[in-house]
Structures are given as structure tokens and as C-alpha cells.
Symmetry: C2
């Protein structure tokens, strides 16, 4: 029975045992075609005997490739896209490193932190940037040649990016309510520093204004459940009556549902409710929530695919990939009588 080795064995150890050069061992490891069958067998045997495993750090140093992607999130609590990101990264041969930069750190600190992250041994960056962020030029400079993709940033931003058209999505929701005959529509908007939240809110306002309808029945939340609850309570106590409520995300819609119910109002009989995101639980609320779905699997696939193709082809032209959310009609909305 072999003793516990004090040091991990290397290419050279294997080579010595197999009676070949270290380069030949390297060839066997990397499945290089031109190795004689007999030699390969010897080497594989030596590898097994020594329980050899290649040192990744050395490999990364020599090749300049780590097959790691770094995912930077600004609020790790909104981790819904993570599973899809991890899945697609793995599927494309990469491992995901995840870190967080809180959105309200001073700009300089953000720069430092980003610089530090980009200097790690990673091949590419995926940056969630739902808040106003550094301009493309500055990012390029900070990342020093490491390709990056911005996810969920502003539309029309000249940078490698993947976004959902928030105006289109919010438009679907509002139009749906209008089609059902609603004329008094309230809103729980998201935090206005959040790019998506602002786009949704602006769409809400502009569509209603265009129709000559009141658009001032709006309270701001922070995208969390409690804020939806509080916002709805304040709408109910202070505001004008409304027959429909547009929540800027599903989580706040959950809070809204709770507040409405507590106030003795039924959804959809008294108030129609629309959310945004189509989180898993949305279909199972009472009643099932009408919402605007952003397909996380698609955005993850597009983001990873984009950054990987930038790694493979540095000349890839900078572009923005715009995806479209879709309306999922469930039982929380209905025609006004």
C-alpha cells in the first residue's frame, strides 16, 4: 500500500517512471494525436501509478487560458439568473466565478474592485449592470483586454451587451390592462436608480399620458416583497381609487396581493394585478399572477455565448443583443365590468 505522498507528482515524475520525456506525457494528457499506442499505454500506466493530476495554475500560466468566466452582480440577492448562467457556462466549457459589487459604492471604489477582478486569471467577464455604470471606454481600459459583456444595461449603449427591451415588456403589461378596459391604473415602480425600473416606469407614464389617463398613481418600492406590501397600503389609504395595479416586479406583486387581500379587496374582481419577471412562484399565487416573462435561460445563453465568442475572436464587432419579454396572461387580471 503506497504511502501518502508528501508532494503532488508532476509531469517529470511521470516521464521518469514511464521512461519518456515530459513533453510526451504532456501530449498524452492533452490527447495529442501523434503518440504511439504503446507509449501512450506506458504513460497512462505511470499516471495511474503516481495518481498524477495536472497542475491547473501552471497550465493557465503557460497557456494564458483559464476557462473561467467571472460573473459580477450588483446585488446577489437577485440571483435568479444564476442557475442558467452556471449551466450555460459549463455547457460551453467554462467555470463560473461569482462576485458582487454593491451598487452604491463610490465610483472610485467600483473601479478599483473591477480592476482587481479583471486582473484575476479569468478569460472573460459578465457584468450585471442594472444601475448607471461606467462608460464603455473606461470599462475597456479597466478590463485591459479581458472581454466583457454587460447584461441588463441601458438599451442603445454602445458596448457589448445583452438586454431585455423593458419598454416593450412594460408596454405589453399596460396595453393588456387598457385592453381589459381599465382606466384607473396604479403602479408600484421599482427603485429609479435601477435602469429597468426606470424604463418600466417611464413606459407606464408615457402610455397613460398619451391616452389622456392619469399616471400619477405611482409609489416607489425597492423590488422586495415588503416594499410591495407597504406601497400598496399607501396607495389604498391615500390615493385615488384604481381598478388595476402594475407592479414593477413579481416580488412586489406578492406584497401587493397580500396588502390588497388584507384590505378586503379581491384580485381580480376588485383589482387586476400585473407583475414582471414571471418568477417560479408566480403561477401558483392566489390567483395565479399575470406577468411579463423575461426568459432567464435565453439571456444567460446569449450572454455566455457572446463573451465566449469574444474570447475566441477578439475582432468580434461590438453589438447589443436585444431580447423581448412576453406577456403571460393568468387569472390576476380580468375585464372591467
Amino acid at each position: 500500500m503506497p504511502e501518502v505522498q508528501s508532494k503532488r507528482s508532476t509531469l517529470h515524475d511521470v516521464a521518469a517512471l514511464a521512461g519518456v520525456s515530459y513533453q510526451t506525457v504532456s501530449r498524452v494528457i492533452n490527447r495529442h494525436p501523434n503518440v504511439a499506442e504503446k507509449t501512450r499505454a506506458q504513460v497512462l500506466d505511470a499516471i495511474r501509478q503516481l495518481d498524477y493530476r495536472p497542475n491547473q495554475a501552471a497550465k493557465v500560466l503557460a497557456t494564458g487560458r483559464s476557462y473561467m468566466l467571472q460573473l459580477i452582480m450588483f446585488d446577489i440577492r437577485y440571483n435568479d439568473p444564476l442557475p442558467a448562467m452556471i449551466y450555460w457556462a459549463k455547457r460551453m466549457g467554462y467555470t463560473l466565478v461569482i462576485s458582487e459589487i454593491t451598487p452604491f459604492t463610490p465610483r472610485d471604489e467600483t473601479r478599483d474592485r473591477l480592476e482587481e477582478l479583471a486582473s484575476r486569471m479569468i478569460d472573460g467577464l459578465i457584468i450585471f449592470s442594472p444601475y448607471a455604470f461606467l462608460p464603455y471606454e473606461e470599462l475597456t481600459e479597466l478590463c485591459r483586454g479581458v472581454p466583457f459583456v454587460l447584461v441588463g444595461t441601458e438599451m442603445g449603449m454602445k458596448a457589448p451587451s445583452v438586454v431585455f427591451d423593458q419598454r416593450h415588456g412594460a408596454g405589453l403589461a399596460i396595453q393588456h390592462l387598457l385592453d381589459l378596459g381599465h382606466r384607473h391604473i396604479a403602479e408600484i415602480r421599482g427603485p429609479q436608480e435601477h435602469i429597468d425600473a426606470r424604463a418600466r416606469h417611464e413606459t407606464f407614464v408615457s402610455i397613460l399620458k398619451a391616452r389622456g389617463l392619469p399616471s400619477d398613481l405611482s409609489v416607489e418600492g425597492d423590488f422586495e416583497v415588503p416594499s410591495g406590501y407597504e406601497a400598496t397600503r399607501s396607495l389604498l389609504t391615500t390615493g385615488a381609487p384604481f381598478t388595476a395595479l402594475f407592479a414593477s416586479n413579481d416580488r412586489m406583486a406578492v406584497g401587493a396581493l397580500h396588502a390588497l387581500c388584507e384590505h378586503g379587496l379581491y384580485v381580480p374582481q376588485d383589482v387586476s394585478l400585473v407583475g414582471f419577471d414571471d418568477m417560479t412562484e408566480a403561477a401558483y399565487l392566489n390567483p395565479p399572477l399575470t406577468t411579463v416573462r423575461q426568459d432567464l435561460d435565453v439571456i444567460a445563453q446569449q450572454s455566455i455565448e457572446y463573451v465566449v465568442s469574444m474570447i475566441q475572436n477578439p475582432k468580434m464587432p461590438v453589438h447589443q443583443r436585444v431580447l423581448y419579454p412576453e406577456l403571460i396572461t393568468r387569472r390576476s387580471t380580468r375585464k372591467i365590468e
Copy 2:
């Protein structure tokens, strides 16, 4: 204006420009105390001029430390612990690499994959292992000296691990229902390959049996919302009447709530409902859900802290850290009349 550099500059470039040796530059980078103030200034200036950034791969190769931890999950959809894990890893100076091994891959493949993961340049592993898993000895061998911590594994497993006492948690829930006077308690159990699900189910059965109460009103779900819905429907159509329902996790409780409501039953007037986990939405369901909380922040902190201390002190004795869930009483349960 300096041209874009074709190659990243190195310690030696900086040293040459600053007129010192590469070692001195290294000292400045690593904040070594014994460097003359004047020299340090020169070096920092050279670093700025060349926009030098240390090569992490080389550093890892030379030091054998990457300050990366690998988190292995068996189902990335249950990603609730991720934010806390990322937070605590960062707080202790580590970055988290995340990957997934699906629970039902053949054992050999699991071994291969784990071996591959452990051979990357990481300092430690955190393995979520809610399914029956490889024994400690085999894991130790596969990980080859890389410390690992098992999270959510079987209680009493002799391995470095952090667990919630599931029997205690389930006991709290069942006892709560009994205290409220319920004698006909149904259950939606989780998948029985899942260690926690089984522990909860066994607790359910053993407590009720000990009281001489029926314990056979149990349907299996898969921990997802739809399965809770389906399970409840089948309980309602085929089973004996019940006044309380214990769902093995909150997600299934959401489905159950939906099914009960659809069937014209009110919670808690007709049926008391208890969940497990205390996910964010639990407090905002209609009615707010009584549930058993497992504090994810605490388990994350304990796991990361444990693996980091193993890294720092390889002699750390193997132990299991047992944490206790707590009952959160809300409005989905009430005294039977």
C-alpha cells in the same frame, strides 16, 4: 500618448524602469514593510506608468494558494444559500467558484467530475450533499489533500460537515400542529432520496405513531411548486379528511395553498398549513405561512469558516456542526375548534 501594449508588463519590466530588482517590486506589491519610502515611490510610479498588474496564475503557481473556494451544488435551482455563501467567502478573503453535479449521475461519473473539480486551483471545497453520497474516506482520496466541507449531509456522518437538525425542525412543526389540537395531519413529503426530506418524513411518521395517530396520509412531491399543487389535489380527492397539512418545504406549500383554495378550502379556517425553510415570500403569502426556518446566513458562515480554518490549520479535527432550525409561527395555522 502611449500605444496599446501588445503584452502585459511583468515584474521585470517594472523593475527595469524603476531601476531596482524584481524582488523589490514584489515587496512593494505585497506591502512588505522593509522597503525604503523613496524606493517604494519609484516603484509605484513605474507600476503606474506601465499599468502593471500582477499575474495571478503565476502567483498561484508560486505560492500554492489561489484564495478560491469551490462550491459544488447538486441542483443549482435551489440556489437560495448562494448569496450568503458568496458574502461570507468574500468576507473571509476568498472568491467563490460555483459548479453543479446533478444528483443522479452514475457514481463513477460523479467521482470523475469531483476529481476534476478538486484538481483545479482551489484551496477548498464546499459540497452540498443532500443526497446519499460518497463516504468520507473516498472523498478524502478524491480531493487529494484539498480540504472540503459537506453541507446538509446526514447527521452523524463522520466527516467535516455542517447540518441543520432536520428531525428537530420537523418535530417543531408537527408538535406545533398537535399543540393546536390537530389529530388528522396530512403530509407532502419531499423526494425520499433527499436526506433532509427523508429525515422530515420519518419524524412525521414516528411522532404520529407514538401518539397512536394515523401517519399514512402522505404524498410525495419533488420540492417544486407544481408538485405541491398536485400532491394536495390527490390528497383531497382520494384521501381521508385532514385538518392540517405539513409540507416538507415552502415551495410545495405554495402549491398546496393554491390547490386548497381552488378546492374551496380556507387556510387556516379549514386546514392549517406548515411549510419548511422560511423562504422570503413565506411571510407574504395569503395567509402568511407558518414554517420552520433554516437560517441560510448562519449555515453559510459556518461552512465557509470551517473550510477556511481547515485550510489554515490542516490538523483541525474532523467534526460536525449541528445547527437548529426554529419554528416561525404565522397565520396559516390555528387552533382546531
